[in-house]
């Protein structure tokens, strides 16, 4: 019984991590149909920013304020990753909208550059980020302990989801983004500056990646290659969920998270991964467009 509850919790926890990672990608992939292979590196940027802030606090801040570094890291990771994303969009992606294969290659190249940059600045080995003390330990219910760090990530992912939902469905700016997603030319003809929308959307998607990177520091050491570890998972969630659909990304993330954890529990970590891939392939055979199908009347 306790094993079931723990497995379920771990599955939900993994789902929330996948959601954080994939939410930004769902937005950029969904909006521009641009395959941003550098998304993983934007996560890496967020993680390293957190590492930097931690170091600064370690060196200069009095001990009792040390834990605050984490609170500060979240918005900082968001801003820096968003900035890198905008730079990427303006200098590179903007020119590749009609060329998906080129954008895949080009962003893959940018990802490699960012990785190497990280190695040059921080060194190749993984570095550890000390979790803030208020996130150590766990919530004890009966004989089960639910780690606070995982609960925090779950809450963070839900908050991000709520903010994104509010932005897209309750603000004029979000409405513009949705219009451009659905019919770019018509939105342009109505007066929407699609260039600005592209920049803004890419910034949001990248900022979310940064936040994900910050959250990942709670789970283990970070290094230049954490991006490549998570990029595949991110794309899996987006493709399973249905491109361009927020709700689909949520369903995809938690679905994959829970099933992956169950498979892992029943077999082992490696076989669990194999089984989840098989399940995803089978699912896509049955439903190629993903969980949420984008039924629009316009032809691409």
């Amino acid at each position: 019984m306790t094993e079931m509850i723990l497995t379920l919790f771990n599955g939900i926890s993994l789902g929330s991590i996948l959601l954080l990672i994939a939410l930004g990608l769902a937005i950029t992939f969904g909006l521009m149909n641009v395959i941003n292979m550098a998304h993983g590196e934007l996560i890496m940027v967020g993680a390293y920013i957190t590492y930097l802030v931690q170091n600064i606090f370690m060196q200069y801040a009095p001990e009792k304020y040390f834990d605050l570094y984490f609170i500060l890291s979240i918005p900082l990771a968001l801003i820096v990753a968003a900035g890198v994303g905008v730079l990427l969009e303006v200098s590179l992606i903007r020119h590749l909208y009609k060329r998906p294969l080129d954008s895949l290659l080009a962003t893959w190249g940018v990802g490699l550059i960012l990785q190497q940059l990280a190695r040059t600045i921080f060194g190749a080995p993984n570095v550890g980020v000390q979790s803030p003390s208020f996130l150590n330990g766990g919530l004890e219910l009966g004989s089960i302990t639910f780690p606070y760090s995982r609960i925090f990530i779950l809450l963070l992912s839900l908050i991000c989801l709520a903010c994104i939902f509010y932005y897209f469905y309750r603000t004029a700016s979000g409405r513009r983004v949705r219009a451009v997603m659905q019919n770019r030319q018509m939105a342009e003809c109505l007066g929407v500056s699609t260039r600005k929308v592209d920049m803004l959307t890419f910034a949001i998607g990248s900022g979310l990646a940064g936040v994900a990177g910050c959250a990942l520091t709670l789970l283990g050491a970070i290094g230049p290659t954490i991006g490549t570890s998570y990029i595949i998972d991110a794309f899996m969630v987006v493709v399973v969920g249905g491109v361009g659909a927020l709700f689909g990304a949520v369903a995809g993330a938690f679905g994959i998270g829970i099933f992956n954890t169950i498979f892992e529990f029943l077999t082992n970590a490696t076989l669990g991964k194999v089984l989840i891939f098989i399940l995803i392939i089978a699912f896509l055979q049955w439903r190629p467009s993903g969980i949420v199908i984008n039924r629009s009347r316009s032809l691409d």
């Binding site: 019919n183 007066g191 500056s193 316009s298």
Partner: protein, 229 residues
């Protein structure tokens, strides 16, 4: 108000419009007729900026807008109702109308559009993609009107619509002409409606203007000659 000089435009390597010259005065309604495939839609797309002309100039309110992006032209007062409606399928009717405000001239939706098309108020929360063709057409026109454009481009606004809604739309266009200061370029197939609403008629064939006449002097047989296959 709008002046098109020696316009040449097309897609990739094929020129669809060859050397079109056209003038639209303030408050004037111009109708463009022609068989399918002669370049009417291409012409409107070039005027709104979706297509960059290979040659020629477009001047609007004494400024050269040939290089302007469509969003700039919209903010300058151009409204566009494309062939095929092109409403946003997963935005609600109200959100579609709110998008019309992006042109920036007004802040709230002009109540007039609800008087023209009452069903838009009833269907405010319905997704645009769930409307019927006729309802979508009404939404598309209303969306172009909410920002009080000074210049309206309408590409076959009654195409494929049931007759009673066609009448409603024609009445709305007549009313716009009479009550507001909006100039229009209207692409149409129905000569009777054209004669009711237009001030000037152009007929296009093979990408050039083959017939141009003020409405009072239009000779039906001449026009039909160019419209029949």
């Amino acid at each position: 108000m709008l002046s098109i000089q020696d316009l040449e435009a097309g897609y990739e390597d094929s020129m669809v419009i060859r050397s079109i010259n056209m003038n639209v005065e303030e408050n004037q309604v111009i109708c463009v007729m022609g068989r399918n495939g002669v370049g009417k839609t291409t012409l409107l797309k070039t005027i709104i900026g979706l297509i960059q002309p290979k040659n020629g100039k477009i001047q609007y309110k004494s400024g050269d807008i040939t290089k302007d992006r469509p969003s700039q032209r919209a903010r300058n007062g151009s409204g566009y109702v494309p062939q095929g409606r092109e409403i946003f399928p997963k935005l609600t009717v109200l959100e579609n109308l709110q998008l019309g405000l992006e042109a920036g001239n007004v802040k709230t939706i002009n109540e007039q559009v609800y008087e023209y098309f009452p069903i838009l108020k009833d269907f405010a929360k319905r997704n645009g993609g769930d409307l019927s063709g006729g309802q979508q057409q009404q939404l598309a026109i209303a969306r172009a009107l909410v920002s009080n454009p000074s210049f309206l481009l309408l590409d076959e606004p009654t195409e494929g619509i049931q007759p009673n809604i066609v009448e409603e739309i024609q009445a709305v266009i007549m009313d716009i002409k009479q009550s507001s200061q909006t100039s229009m370029i209207l692409v149409e197939q129905n000569l009777d409606f054209v004669k009711n609403v237009a001030d000037h008629l152009y007929v296009i064939d093979h990408g050039s203007i083959v017939y141009s006449s003020p409405i009072a002097n239009v000779e039906d047989e001449e026009v039909y000659r160019y419209l029949t296959v």
